[in-house]
Amino acid sequence: MSNYISNVKKQFKFKHIATWVSVLAVLIALIILNSAGALNRSTIGLLSRIAYSIILAVSLNLVVGFLGELSLGHAGFMCLGAYIGTFSATGLSKSIDSDLLVLILAMFIGGAVAAIFGFIIGLPALRLKGDYLAIVTLAFGEIVRNIFKNLEIFGGAMGYNSKTYNQKKLFIIAFVAVIIVLILIQNLIRSKHGRAITAIRDNEIAARAMGINVTFYKLFVFVIAAFFAGIAGVIYGHFTTPVLYTTFSYNYSIEILVMVVLGGMGSINGSIIAATLITVVNFALQSKLSGDLAAIRLMVYALVLITVVIFNNAPAFKPIKERFSISQLKARRIEKKKEIIADDAAEWNRIETKVKMDAVLTTDIPHGEEPLQEDCDGSEKEGE
C-alpha cells in the first residue's frame, strides 16, 4: 500500500490537474462575486452558456481530436438530452421536492438516452470511415430534429415548454458538471484506454495489429461523447425555454466543430478557451448584428475554419509552422547544445589522433628533428 502511494506521488504532476483546478478557481471566484451581487442577469446567463459550450466542445474533441472521426451530429445528441432531460424533469418534479436532485437525475436520464443513441450511431461507425461516418452523423442529427418536430408530446413545431432552473444557481451546477467532465476526460486520455484511442487515430490498421480492440474503443468514444453532449443539452434545456428543434441544426454542430478546430484538435485546454471565446463573441455580437448582418459572424467562422485547417495541415505551410512552433524552438535549442558538445568531442578526438600520429612518426624516424619533437610535446600537454 505504501509502495502504491509513493508510486502515485511520484507520478503526480501538477499539469495533470491544472485544467480542472483552474476552472474550479474561476468558479469559486464567480461564486464569491455572485454572492456579493456583482454579477448581473445577462452575465449569469452567459456563464451557463459558456459551461454547456465547454462540455460540448470537449466531448466533440474526444471524437474528432482523439479518435480522429468527424461527427457532424453533436447537436443531435444535445437535442436528445435537452428534450428528454427537461421532459423527465417535469415528470420527476411532481414526486421529488428538491429541484437540485431533479436536475441531477434529469442530467443522467438525458445523458443516458443520448448515450444509447450514441451507441446506435456508433454501430455504423465500426464499418464506415471518414466521409461516410460524417454523413451518417449528419443524417442522425436531421432525423432527431425531424422526429421531435412532429411529436406532439414534446410540443411539436412550437417547441417543448420546459421549466427553467433558478439562473443564479444553474451556472454553479453547470460549472461543477464541467469540472467533473474535465476530470473524467483527462483521466481517460492519460489512461491505457486513451492511448489506445489515439493509436486508432494515428493508424487504425497498426493499432489493430497491436491487439487493440478498435470496435470497442470506437463505440466507447461515441457513447461517452454522446453522454456528455446529452448532459450539455439538459443544462441548455434548464437554461432556456422553450426547447426548440430548430436550435439544434446542422449549423450548431458546425459551430461546436469550429470551437474544436480553433482550440486545436486533441487539445482539451484549447477547446475550453475556444468554447469560452466563441460563446462570449456570440453573446457580444447577438445584440449588435441583427438580421442579415448576422451572416458576418458565420462568414468569420467559416474563414477561421478554412485558414486554421489549411495552415495546420497543408504541406506547403509545414516549414513555416516548424519555424515558429514553440516545441520546435525548444528542440532546436537542445539540438544546438548537442552540436556544441559534439564539436568539443570532435576536437578532443582530433587532437588525440594527432598525438598518436605524431608519436608514430617520431618512432619511425630514429633521429627526429627538434621542431617535430616540440610539436608532439605541446599537443600531448593539450591532450591532458
Binding site: L70, I135, A139, E142, I143, L257, A295, M299, L305, I306
Partner: protein, 287 residues
C-alpha cells in the same frame, strides 16, 4: 401516377447533383460539402441575370459559367493546398467553404426567400394525365446530360485520364496524366452539373434562399451513397430512387412529416447492410 412522374423529375435533379458529388469523390477522394452551395450560387446567378437582362437563356448560360468558375476557384484556393493532407482536414475545409458561400449569399441577398419567374410552358395531357412541360424538360435534358457524361468518361481521352486518376493517382502521374488538371476539370464539370440542377430546381420550386442548396445537397449525397459512391450509373440510380421515395412518402399523409427521417434512415440502413452501395466497387484497405 402523377406522384411517380413528380418523383422521377425530382430524382433527375438529385441525380444531377449526385453526379457532381460522385465524380469529385471518385477522382479527388474527397466529399465536396460545398457542392450543394454551388447550386445556390447558380440559383442566385440565374435570378440576378434574369433581373438585368430579362432573358432566361442568357441567365442559364451565365449561371453555368459562374458555377464552373466558382468550382475551379474553390478547388484552387481551398482544396489544392490540402492535397496529401489527412481526409479529416479536407472535409472540415469543405464544410468551411460551404458555410462561407452561404454567409456571403446572405450578406448580398438577405435571408428572405426571393421568388423567381421562369418561363412556364404550361401542361400537356398524355393519355389522360396532366403533366407539366417543365417536368418533361427536366427529365429529357437530365437524361441527355447523364448520357453525354457517360460517353465522355468512357470514350474521350480526358475521360479515360479521369478513370486512371480515380484508380491510382500515382500511377496516372507516371503515365503522363496531369493529375492537377484532371481534378480541376472534374470540379468544373461537377459545378456545371450543379448549374443545371439549380435551373431544374427553380423550375419546380421557384423561390431562392441562401440555404437552398444544403438540403438537396445532403440528400443528393445520400443518393450517391445509396447508389454506390464513385460510380456514375450508381449516382443516377440512387438519385431516381431517392426522388421517388421522397415523393411517395410525401403523398401518404400518415408518414408525410417524417419524410426526411425516413430518407436518412434509409441511408444508415444501406450503409449498415451494404456499405459500398448498390453499384459500388469494393475497395480493400492496404497497409
Amino acid at each position: 401516377m402523377t406522384t411517380l412522374i413528380d418523383g422521377l423529375s425530382l430524382g433527375a435533379i438529385y441525380s444531377l447533383i449526385a453526379l457532381g458529388y460522385t465524380m469529385v469523390y471518385g477522382i479527388a477522394k474527397m466529399l465536396n460539402f460545398a457542392h450543394g452551395d454551388i447550386i445556390m450560387v447558380g440559383a442566385y446567378t440565374i435570378l440576378t441575370t434574369l433581373n438585368i437582362t430579362g432573358n432566361p437563356y442568357v441567365a442559364i448560360a451565365v449561371s453555368i459559367v459562374v458555377c464552373t468558375v466558382s468550382g475551379i476557384v474553390i478547388e484552387r484556393l481551398a482544396y489544392k493546398p490540402l492535397r496529401g493532407a489527412s481526409p479529416l482536414a479536407v472535409l472540415i475545409t469543405a464544410i468551411g467553404v460551404s458555410f462561407f458561400l452561404q454567409s456571403i449569399a446572405q450578406l448580398i441577398y438577405g435571408s428572405k426567400s426571393q421568388s423567381i419567374s421562369l418561363p412556364d410552358f404550361g401542361k400537356v395531357s398524355v393519355g389522360g394525365l396532366e403533366i407539366n412541360v417543365n417536368t418533361i424538360i427536366t427529365l429529357v435534358v437530365g437524361g441527355i446530360i447523364m448520357a453525354a457524361l457517360t460517353v465522355f468518361v468512357k470514350k474521350t481521352n480526358t475521360g479515360r485520364a479521369m478513370q486512371a486518376v480515380s484508380e491510382d493517382k500515382g500511377a496516372a502521374l507516371l503515365m503522363g496524366v496531369n493529375v492537377n488538371r484532371i481534378i480541376m476539370i472534374t470540379f468544373a464539370i461537377g459545378s456545371a452539373l450543379a448549374a443545371f440542377a439549380s435551373l431544374f430546381y427553380l423550375m419546380q420550386i421557384p423561390s431562392i434562399t441562401p440555404t437552398l442548396g444544403s438540403m438537396p445537397g445532403i440528400k443528393a449525397f445520400t443518393a450517391a451513397v445509396i447508389g454506390g459512391i464513385g460510380s456514375i450509373p450508381g449516382a443516377m440510380l440512387g438519385g431516381m430512387l431517392l426522388g421517388l421515395i421522397e415523393k411517395i412518402c410525401l403523398s401518404i399523409p400518415a408518414i408525410g412529416p417524417y419524410t426526411t427521417a425516413i430518407e436518412f434512415s434509409l441511408l444508415i440502413i444501406i450503409l449498415l447492410v451494404k456499405p459500398i452501395g448498390i453499384l459500388g466497387k469494393k475497395v480493400r484497405e492496404k497497409v
